[in-house]
Amino acid sequence: MNCLETSRLIGPFVDDELDARSVIDVEIHLARCAACTEERSELLALRETARERLPRFDPPAGLEERLFRAARKPEPRRRLPWRQGAMVLAAACAAVVATSALRPHADESADEIVDAHVRSLQADHLTDVVSSDQHTVKPWFQGRIDCAVPVRDFSARGFVLSGGRLDVLDGRPAAALVYRRRQHVLNLFVSPDAPGSGGEPRRDFSVRGFRISTWTQEGLRYRLVSDIAPSESDELVSLLRADDGSH
């Protein structure tokens, strides 16, 4: 094993995620390479710094349990550092634990939708795939969410598709399509409808100055949130709900 290979594996090595054979190979290389040993020390120092200095969020009671119960295996695992504010992965989990207190009903609250929208406006959290081309954005979601996300650009009507990202709402993955209307950002969250829910009628409401529209269509739940005027938001909702078969 040389320095190039070690450099690739040093992250999982420090996180105890390597198989036994690779661990031995890396340790043999570290024993005779000062540079890679230095890199290992830096990574350990980075983990300590991250644990001490990166901001933490307190999840609302019950949310963390519900979310981690689905992921955690019964056998004990070693500790793993992974948090990084600039990465969508960390942002997705941080978004979940940073969600404001959920109301005790089954659907996510309007507050959570607004919070997800506002959080996305922070630098680097808006889009993971940047394109106005539906043929680029739509395939990006395959394998990332278990539904086919209909993606359409409405530039001709003043709603420009900026791109997409994966977000989390109500503890479940949601595709986020980002539209721009003049200087304003609109987030359209799309996720699979809960089986047997029977769909829901369209609802429009305003929360803290943000306009939210929600509806169900062809087995998918839609939630549009933005700070544009209700009449303009309604225009995009009409475009989205129109069954013109163009996609």
């Binding site: 992250g11 995620e17 990574l43 980075l46 695992r77 070693r78």
Partner: protein, 44 residues
Amino acid sequence: MEGLAYKEIADVASVPLGTVMSRLSRARAQLRILIAGQRRRETA
């Protein structure tokens, strides 16, 4: 920091394991750049 294994992160965030690993790798690199820059500013 939350004690999750790579596989658990992949499950929670609904992304493939490879994506978790590549994003962690980029995250570490970016964090190191940010911290190095911060250190330079603090000692300047």
